[in-house]
Symmetry: C2
Subunit: 690 residues, 2 copies
């Protein structure tokens, strides 16, 4: 790992291990535990055969004799139905530790250098990402780029609002809400555009089956006529309903923890005035730092169990359900602290803080004197909310970035150092087979390095961005500079994520995707919720004439009906804005969709011309209809006397319908009769009016 | 007309005029005004030529010498781009009075007989309608049938609620709201189903151009590369924005009229106690009956003008925009009276009624004594709301049905009698050309009769049903028997509409359609608004312990915050219900869609098999992927000493990448190497652990 990092300072082309991938497409990291040697060997043979069967060349290399790592090197193992069906760590492939493509270090180095020197990513940059890492990763960067460009507006407007309007401005709140609606609708369109451009539109319909799916019975698919595995949808629904108690449990557990720490913190910082105050102040932070990640991890495990229980047959549904639960956990840990301050602490502080005396009473019992602890007169701190928002939108973002990029690096370095010491102690150096050329040896060393890296999980990065968007939508009315902070953060974030992929992760398997998936609905939810929180915040805290703070910091003249009216209005304004923006966006034609239609049109036209010749009418709306219908061939006859007599004889024996059509048999004849009739009528009319 | 009606009492097969249509598909009613004879004749010739050009046989017949009616009889004149482009009463076709197909009287007679004897319409019945009158009419009957079946639930539940729960029950309101959501979502699915079954899915994408469209410039269509006519979308948007002042104008004009009559009525019936009370009571009704239709007609003309101004290029957009405006007018005339009673008269009556004294003061000046008129002590009439709802949901429905079916019949009968008298006075009987056979004469008489009938407009019937659905959704909590009344009404309605089409309208031109069009969004709007009105009504009027009427009839203990909270909760419960119902509905597979997918699957499979042979994998999800990718042909070689030496020589001159792949060239070889490695590792491990 350290090697990779150092190497990028020079040109990867000069390094023997990084120069070439030896035409290796994928690496399979295979581990054989001594206890299960026979089983692992049989499974290994199965794997090589399966890979050979679908047409991959394979090659095995063992590089570390102690760890029993085998490398089988092959072409892309993931065509249809999970490729050769190799899913790391599941079922009969449980000895497969990981399966990954090799980094293209020459590209990576150029990539990082290129991005660090530009402000905006172009469509070509995204296309390169898509070509190297697949559409799933490319969609993340496309979203990040789109979000970054859109942030320019709230950042500059927020700066202006901060200077001119101040905090809690209803005008800022409205504009911010409108912005979030426009961004959301624009992204929905952009997403389709990228999908068309990358040739993946509609691929989400081709779903990855989930090997862990347990079926109850087999049934005939009414569409394809094939046998499909079925699990009762009612059972699944019943299990999906467990999400409600799960969400409640999260709220009670995490919310309870946050609320308790909050209460302790208020008590210590704003009520308590006794000894050790300067140390006790850190107590709630310490409690939170210890328990919050622990509880979140436990709840995530529970979420995974629940999702497994729901037993989806397709990967996407499984993933979406998991993301939904993770979102609940993240929502609570990210937003509940601010919600508590805004909607409990400030409006009800005066009512609730006296109850915090339980702390002093309970601690009083412990002190020898039995007297309550010394407290000071309590006043609501109206800046607390702003401080908190700044903490979450600036400090936490920086901390998060560091944990994301620096911590794994340090962790791996320490881990590697320990391992090297172990290897030295066991007295065995990294010996290579005599048959390996120096290039090959360097290459295999590098493959081993990459095998030790983490798997890149794009959902973690998405989650971070969605939560960030939530702060902007829900709380930026408290501190309008929020978007400025995010603008800077996201420039760094994009480069940091690139570095994470290029240097500290295995190269991602290029999965196809045609959207950002279930995160889209999370964004929509945030945008909607933002209309409610912003309205409530503006009503509660805005400092206009009729609604100012009392001397003790509690807000003044707040009535329930006015607050509810605010919420009701805000939400309907939001829905109206959404309706209008959607209507307007629908009129804008995206270049990708247009190209798609043009291609389809050309194809259909060609097909129809081939089939029916050139007798094709184009309606000019991207749709083609073939005009069929009866072409009546008319024999025009002059109305001579003989012809009329002949006619009369022919007509005598005909059925009425045919006889009806025997007269006026051509256009000209009809026109002739019509003209006669018209002049006849006019003459009569003339006689009458005379 | 009278003739047609009488004839259906006997079998149309026995009537010479009704037995056959002489293979005539369409009739064009052409009128030549004496003043414009030359122009009309030229245009007539153009028309016959245009019809001949697209392949229709034509024939002209003049039947009434006085009225100058010409009949040109031909095949279907509406293929692509408006057929021969003949649009009655527009542009160069301004002399075309109407264009219609002829009724199939044998079918019509059997149809009316059949429907009058059954409760439910089957899919076959609807299919027959579709075959005879096209999908647009069939969709109306399909909707009516689906709505009728769905009404069974609220009718029986409403009856139960009326007996057990009484009025203003929150439980009834919730169930009713849920029902409306389920009905709406179900219909959306059903609609697609019918479209698939009738082979019209997606036809709404093939739009009818609007001949009245005025373009600003021509531009190249980016999709088809053809020249298309363009009108600036910004100009159109600016004109569309006029809908807002239009809606406000409707509200002020119609709402003002209704409110004034309401005030007068209240004053006369509940305050005034002077002379002529029994006559004056009818005054507001008389005013409303005169002015409401007049103003509605004027506003409809204004709506038509506005829609023309918006200058749509396609018929559908024009139609949708017109329907939107008509909906506003109908919404106000239908619901404002009840809304006024519920949300103004009852809660604020005590505050407002004293102002009605302006009436007594202003009339006082007119009376000789100069004394105010005698009034009685005013008390809010809490039953007024129920009476009003019963009026709108029972009486008005019956009145409406009668005006729809009986009035046109009487009107036409009178009109015809007058005309016959006129003809007799002018001394000219209906003489036929000597060349016409008796069958032909009877047929032409009948064609003339049908030409005089009204054009059937399906939007009028849709509007009626949507407004009716609105009463159910918005106000049925006031009178839970609403659905019972509608159930009966709609059985009659379906038969009445059938009679209207068969007997008192021209046979509708079979337009294609794939949905009920813009009415769908009106239904959705009603369903949503219902959640708000129902919640407000329940809160204001429900008679539980905490919230009963005061002795003077005004409701008790109403607070703004509680009302707003009710609204807020109700709306979010509604949105949640909608979300859940949509989610569940999405899991149900509609038979039509399933069949469509099966057909598409079979077609693709066949196509792929023809193209690529049988080397095709089906994923079992209605999607097919062709597996491409490199098939590496492996030459397996035994590892003999000679082979290895030969190998070493070959490898010396190869590039590294190729050399890397030269060893372990087949599956078997890889497995062999793997087995050796595994056993080697295990041995080493064994040594170490020993």
């Amino acid at each position: 790992m350290a090697g990779l990092r150092t190497l990028y300072r020079s040109d990867p082309k000069d390094e023997p291990g990084l120069r070439t991938n030896f035409n290796v497409d994928y690496v399979i990291h295979y581990k054989i535990p001594p206890a299960e040697e026979a089983e692992a060997e049989a499974s290994f043979v199965q794997m090589i055969e399966a890979l050979g069967h679908v047409g991959f060349a394979t090659k095995i290399k063992s590089t570390t004799p102690v760890c029993k790592i085998g490398f089988s090197v092959c072409g892309p193992p993931h065509p249809n139905e999970g490729g050769a069906g190799i899913m790391p760590k599941t079922g009969r492939w449980k000895h497969v530790v990981s399966l990954f493509p090799l980094h293209d270090h020459v590209f990576n180095s150029a990539w990082l250098k290129d991005w660090s020197a530009k402000y905006f990513l172009s469509d070509d940059d995204l296309m390169q990402i898509r070509d190297r890492f697949g559409e799933q990763v490319a969609f993340y960067f496309a979203f990040l780029q789109s979000y970054f460009s859109f942030l320019l507006f709230p950042a500059s407007f927020g700066l202006g609002a901060w200077l001119v309007l101040g905090k809690f401005s209803w005008f800022y709140a409205t504009v911010n809400c409108l912005w979030s609606v426009v961004f959301f609708e624009h992204w929905k369109m952009k997403e389709v555009d990228y999908a068309v451009r990358w040739g993946v539109r509609g691929v989400s319909k081709i779903q990855q089956p989930r090997p862990q799916f347990r079926f109850e019975r087999e049934a005939v698919d009414p569409v394809t006529g094939e046998l499909v595995k079925v699990y009762s949808p009612y059972k699944r629904l019943a299990r999906q309903l467990l999400q409600v108690p799960f969400a409640l449990a999260c709220l009670v557990i995490l919310g309870g923890l946050i609320a308790s720490c909050f209460a302790v913190e208020i008590f210590i910082t704003e009520v308590y005035n006794g000894p050790f105050k300067q140390y006790l102040t850190f107590l709630p932070t310490v409690i939170l730092t210890i328990f919050n990640p622990t509880l979140s991890t436990l709840l995530t495990i529970l979420a995974r169990r629940l999702t497994d229980l729901e037993n989806y047959d397709m990967q996407d549904a499984h993933q979406a359900s998991m993301i939904q639960k993770i979102f609940v956990i993240n929502f609570i840990t990210s937003y509940v602290p601010i919600l508590l301050t805004a909607f409990v602490y400030v409006p009800f502080g005066k009512l609730l803080v006296p109850y915090l005396d339980v702390f002093s009473l309970s601690t009083a019992r412990l002190t020898a004197e039995g007297k309550p602890l010394p407290t000071k007169q309590w006043v609501i701190d109206p800046d607390r909310l702003t401080k908190q928002v700044i903490y979450f939108t600036v400090t936490a973002q920086i901390v998060n970035f560091l944990t994301e990029t620096i911590v794994p690096y340090v962790k791996r370095k320490v881990f590697k150092a320990v391992k090297e010491v172990q290897t030295e102690v066991s007295g065995k150096s990294n010996e290579q087979k005599p048959t390996d050329s120096p290039e090959e040896a360097a290459f295999l060393k590098r493959v081993q390095n990459e095998a030790e890296l983490d798997v890149y999980d794009v959902t973690i990065d998405y989650r971070e961005m969605v939560i960030q968007f939530g702060y902007l939508s829900l709380f930026s009315v408290i501190w309008p500079l929020t978007a400025c902070s995010f603008l800077v953060n996201n420039w760094v974030e994009a480069r940091g994520d690139a570095m994470k992929i290029a240097i500290s992760s295995q190269r991602p398997i290029p999965w196809r995707a045609d959207s950002i998936g279930p995160w889209l609905s999370s964004l929509g939810f945030m945008s909607w919720l933002g209309s409610l929180t912003s309205a409530a915040l503006v009503y509660l805290f805005s400092s206009d004439a009729t609604n100012h703070y009392e001397p003790d910091g509690s807000p003044h003249r707040i009535t329930a009906w006015a607050l509810l009216l605010c919420l009701l209005l805000a939400e309907h304004v939001y829905l109206l804005l959404q309706f209008v923006v959607r209507g307007l966006m629908a009129k804008v034609d995206s270049p990708g969709l247009q190209r798609e239609r043009a291609q389809r049109f050309a194809m259909r036209k060609q097909f129809l011309e081939q089939t029916f010749g050139n007798d094709v009418l184009a309606t000019g709306r991207g749709e083609i209809s073939v005009v069929g219908g009866l072409k009546v061939v008319q024999q025009e006859e002059k109305m001579t006397r003989e012809a009329l007599e002949e006619e009369a004889r022919r007509l005598a024996n005909m059925p009425v319908e045919e006889r009806f059509w025997q007269r006026q048999r051509g256009t000209n004849e009809t026109i002739q009769v019509g003209r006669n009739l018209i002049s006849e009528m006019t003459t009569k009319q003339g006689h009458k009016t005379d």
